[in-house]
């Protein structure tokens, strides 16, 4: 293959708020350019993991190379780099964008600008990308392209005079999108003969080929046999194979300046190929690495325990394997008095946590018990240095604590003006600090608050959605730690403190949370052989108490004409149901109980 003329390459991403049609548009682009035959065409091809397709979200970044003969008669290579659509994975979005020169900004022509539209546009602008506005779903009767264009101009300051009008669903306007990419997005530049400089924007672990690194070449070229170096980790490796995504991996002799593709270099752990790192030549280093990479830090933690204690080793193996592919998640062994041996795991966010848990259960056939998620607190003991505590059970007693800090986020909420009052109340209830409020257009307001991350974790998004009848959207970023007046609330079952149910809460809401949680637990935990008191306590002080009354009647009266089998089957089911519960002392507790704290609604 000849060296590609960079002038015939376009590297772009698609950015959008969730459900605005990003994946459908990507499908159409692949279809119309015959990148994928119809036979191979599955709904939303780019979302490869089953979980992604089921949940309709993109978890890992993906890339695909499209060949396109433009109306000017020239052949172009268009590299589409898909980005994860959830705020848990913001860092991956930003690295994917750094691999491009431009982005299609997809906005639903009836929904208009949403919080993630703004957040992602800002990420794209930070990366100096050319932004091509695309109004999607113009076939819908409720579409209001003029209003939405106005909103884009007002809220994002982006010229919409040449905005593209499409319906990814019907295929209308897709040709114009392809032409628009070529006309409006700049071709890559860079030195073909300069030392190699390539950005790692993703990496995955394949059990046959090792780590597959997704790269964008900014300078020079990369080909098999070359000795390469990861500038941040210092890892040196020899290139075995390079190729492109069409969308399946296809080997090519080399990747040169401006191209997007993959590199395989006999690396066994994705830890050594950090997203955002720069690859260069071992002998001839590029003078300056690309704008830095940072480690994605876990912010949400929970305990994962095998329901069957004998599965501990299986769980550890599963975590080890999963980690190969997902360096952003961390874990370490922990022991709970109530639950036995397990792991404290850290995630980028709640969605990330759910996904990891689901993958472990699905791919490794494990039955897991998850404790309620919490944030990591910075705790200073009297006369000591600050330490991070990611398990509420580890919080020292109040007397030993000099101060506690908790993580805060800066949250941006977009909503129609009539709901502002309700949302300000919500943020107030959640210990939010008002920062500012801005009218983006007559019917769209942007609210800006600082909020403890823990307050945002518990049902905040659901409340936002219900209080704005679905019209509100949000985005957030982490802004560091602030001191708070926090206490640990312990839960006692039948007089025994259950460490796995402890959680940390602001002093002012401890009483309310404690009371609501014990009520919830009374509903969730089935009646037992004995009365079981449930108590919420801070230290020795009991805040709330409920009693699960002893089970009184569980007996099958009739014996249907000698049908003993039916009776036995029923008893068998009863026994299986019991096995799926966790035995804490003499109390049988269903798994949901450990997540009950999430269901305590602040708003009753």
């Amino acid at each position: 293959m000849d060296i590609l003329d960079p002038r015939r390459i376009r590297n772009f991403s698609i950015i959008a708020h969730i459900d605005h049609g990003k994946s459908t548009l990507a499908d159409r682009l692949l279809e119309i350019t015959h990148t994928i035959s119809e036979r191979e065409m599955k709904e939303q091809v780019l979302d490869r993991m089953d979980l992604e397709r089921e949940r309709g979200i993109t978890i890992k970044a993906q890339a695909v190379r499209i060949s396109y003969k433009a109306k000017d008669g020239e052949k172009y290579i268009l590299n589409l780099i898909d980005t994860p659509g959830h705020v848990d994975f913001t860092y991956e979005v930003s690295r994917s964008l750094a691999a491009c020169e431009g982005a299609l900004l997809v906005v639903d022509a009836s929904q208009g600008v949403e919080a993630q539209t703004i957040a992602n546009t800002h990420l794209a602008l930070d990366n100096n990308l050319e932004i091509v506005p695309v109004l999607n779903k113009i076939d819908l009767p409720s579409a209001e392209p003029e209003r939405v264009k106005h909103e884009i101009e007002e809220s994002l300051g982006i010229d919409t005079s040449n905005a593209l009008m499409v319906s990814a669903k019907t295929g209308e306007g897709i040709d114009e999108v392809l032409e628009g990419i070529i006309e409006m997005i700049p071709a890559p530049d860079g030195g073909a003969e300069a030392p190699l400089k390539a950005l790692i924007f993703d990496s995955i672990y394949d059990s046959y080929r090792g780590v597959i690194i997704f790269v964008r070449i900014f300078d020079g070229k990369i080909e098999p046999g070359m000795k390469i170096k990861m500038m941040a980790t210092g890892k040196v490796a020899e290139v075995e194979d390079v190729g492109v995504f069409r969308p399946n991996m296809m080997s090519v002799p080399k990747l040169s300046v401006g191209e997007v593709g993959y590199v395989i270099a006999g690396i066994k752990n994705v830890k050594e190929t950090k997203v955002g790192d720069t690859i260069t030549e071992e002998k001839r280093s590029t003078s300056k690495p690309l704008a830095g990479y940072r480690e994605a830090k876990p912010v949400v933690f929970c305990g994962l325990y095998p329901l069957d204690g004998g599965e501990y080793e299986t769980l550890r193996d599963a975590l080890d394997k999963l980690k190969l592919n997902d360096p952003s998640f961390v874990y370490e062994p922990e022991t709970s008095r109530a639950l036995g041996f397990g792991f404290r795991c850290g995630f980028l966010g709640l969605l990330h946590m759910e996904i990891v848990k689901e993958r472990l259960e699905r791919e490794y056939k494990l039955d897991l018990l998850a404790t309620a998620p919490n944030v990591a607190y910075s705790v200073v003991r009297v006369g000591k240095a600050a330490e991070f505590i990611s398990n509420p059970a580890d919080l020292p007693s109040p007397g030993e604590i000099e101060k506690i800090e908790e993580p805060y986020v800066s949250i941006s909420i977009l909503l129609p003006p009539e709901f502002v009052g309700g949302i300000m109340d919500l943020c107030q209830d959640r210990r939010g600090e008002f920062k500012d409020m801005q009218y983006l257009s007559v019917n769209r307001v942007q609210l800006h608050y600082h909020l403890p991350l823990s307050e945002m974790m518990y049902g905040f998004y659901d409340s936002l959605k219900s209080r704005t009848r679905g019209y509100g959207s949000m985005d957030y970023e982490h802004i560091g730690y602030k001191e708070s007046d926090l206490v640990r609330l312990d839960i006692l079952l039948a007089g025994e403190p259950i460490d796995a149910l402890s959680f940390i809460v602001h002093k002012d809401s401890a009483y309310f949370r404690g009371r609501e949680l014990v009520k919830k637990l009374r509903e969730i935990i089935p009646r037992q052989f004995y009365d079981v008191p449930i108590q919420a306590a801070i230290g020795n002080k009991i805040l709330a108490r409920e009693t699960i009354k002893a089970k009184r009647k569980d007996v099958l009266a009739k014996c249907y004409g000698g049908d003993i089998t039916r009776k036995r089957k029923l008893l068998e089911r009863q026994k299986v149901g019991k096995k799926r519960m966790k035995s804490l002392g003499k109390v049988e507790v269903p798994r949901e109980a450990f997540l009950a704290v999430l269901k305590v609604d602040k708003e009753k």
Binding site: R527, F529, K553, Y560, G561, I564, T565, K567, L571, Q574
Partner: protein, 389 residues
């Protein structure tokens, strides 16, 4: 089949005028045209079954259950009974029961049944509150129960059971006590008192889901059950099983066969049989039952060979339904090991929880393991412990 083991016969009549709202059992309405063919088929099945036997146990009980067996004309019932008596070795003292719904009964019919050889009548009274009978979808009133009962006495039935249900939606404890008093007032020989179970896909279940009625709460059901036990024991009706009470000597022989895990053969659609380590069950649908017999096919659909561990656990949870519980000597004689050797953990735990207790038996030496009063209420929780993994 071991020769000297007792044997029971069960005849299933899967027909009803109309299904009751709580019923999820094998019963059908509107199949009157099938009666004749169905009776013929049952007789054919009995003949076939006898031909397949190599030894003959003594039949100690014949039980006509339903559905509504009393819906059939007497000559049909008589024909089945005659077939049984002529082909099996039926004990002279055999208990021969028929279930009857009050609205299907006349004095004349009862007289014929008595003459035909039925010596035990089980009346589906269910309640003496007419409103509750309507909720249950029963087709009779409490007045008809009284009438049916006095006819039965008049024609000479000296062994009468009344079936009762408690925990009916809208039923108060007062209502239930009233039904108990009226029942005892009649002076039956036997009372079965069942807690209502609301099964999926019944009319009643849908009505409860639709909010028409409220399902009776666990605590109320427990109180009703306890009231029943206390009240009936005061009236010298001895509780001998979880749901069954009888005057001394009038315990239902047929049900005792089930609970002692003895042998029984079931005839008719959906009927269950248990012979030694084998359980089997006939086709449920009366039409396919008839068709299978006509075409010479096997009417049994499900065969289950009981493994030792399943047979063991069934024996335990069936025996424990009896108030006397498991006789440990008999158990050891039957299985060749001590019960406690296999289930020490479970038994010790359940004894500690006061659900099981060791007790000297009413009769011969040795010890029994039986449910406590608390255990009676939580019997399923106890039984589940003896189910193999």
């Amino acid at each position: 089949m071991v020769l000297n083991k007792p044997l029971g016969l069960y005849i299933h009549i899967p027909f009803c005028k109309q299904r009751c709202s709580y019923c999820d059992f094998n019963s059908h309405s509107g199949l009157e045209d099938l009666y004749d063919q169905y009776i013929k088929s049952i007789c054919v099945e009995i003949e076939k079954s006898v031909q397949e036997q190599t030894t003959f146990s003594e039949v100690v009980s014949i039980y006509f259950g339903g559905g509504t067996p009393s819906i059939l004309p007497t000559h049909c019932l008589e024909k089945i009974l005659t077939t049984c008596s002529s082909l099996f070795r039926v004990s002279e003292r055999a208990e021969i029961t028929i279930e009857a719904n009050p609205e299907t009964i006349t004095r004349e019919k009862l007289k014929k049944l008595k003459t035909a050889g039925f010596n035990r009548l089980s009346i589906g009274a269910q309640s003496f509150d007419d409103e509750l009978l309507k909720i249950l979808g029963r087709k009779h009133s409490s007045k008809e129960v009284n009438k049916c009962y006095s006819y039965a006495r008049e024609v000479g039935f000296d062994n009468i059971n009344l079936d009762l249900i408690f925990g009916i939606p809208e039923q108060t404890i007062g209502c239930w006590n009233d039904t108990l008093e009226k029942t005892v007032g009649l002076g039956p020989d036997h009372i079965s008192a069942y807690g209502l179970e609301v099964h999926q896909e019944t009319v009643l279940c849908k009505q409860i889901d639709d909010g028409l009625f409220k399902v009776s709460e666990e605590d109320i059901q427990a109180d009703m059950y306890l009231n029943c036990i206390t009240f009936l024991s005061d009236k010298r009706m001895i509780q001998y099983e979880l749901s069954n009470f009888a005057k001394p000597g009038k315990e239902c022989k047929h049900n005792l066969l089930y609970w002692r895990n003895e042998n029984y053969l079931g005839f008719g659609a959906g009927a269950h049989s248990h012979i030694d380590n084998l359980r089997f069950k006939n086709a449920d649908n009366p039409i396919s039952y008839i068709k299978k017999l006509k075409t010479g096919q096997d009417v049994s659909e499900k065969y289950e060979e009981l493994s030792d561990s399943i047979a063991l656990s069934e024996t335990i949870f069936l025996n424990l339904r009896l108030i006397d519980g498991i006789n440990l000597e008999e158990f050891e004689a039957k299985f060749g090991f001590k019960l406690h050797d296999v289930y020490s953990r479970q038994i010790d735990d359940l004894v500690k929880k006061e659900l099981l207790v060791y007790h000297p038996p009413s009769g011969a030496g040795g010890e029994n393991l039986r449910l406590t009063k608390k255990g009676l209420l939580l019997a399923n929780q106890v039984f589940a412990e003896f189910i193999p993994d």
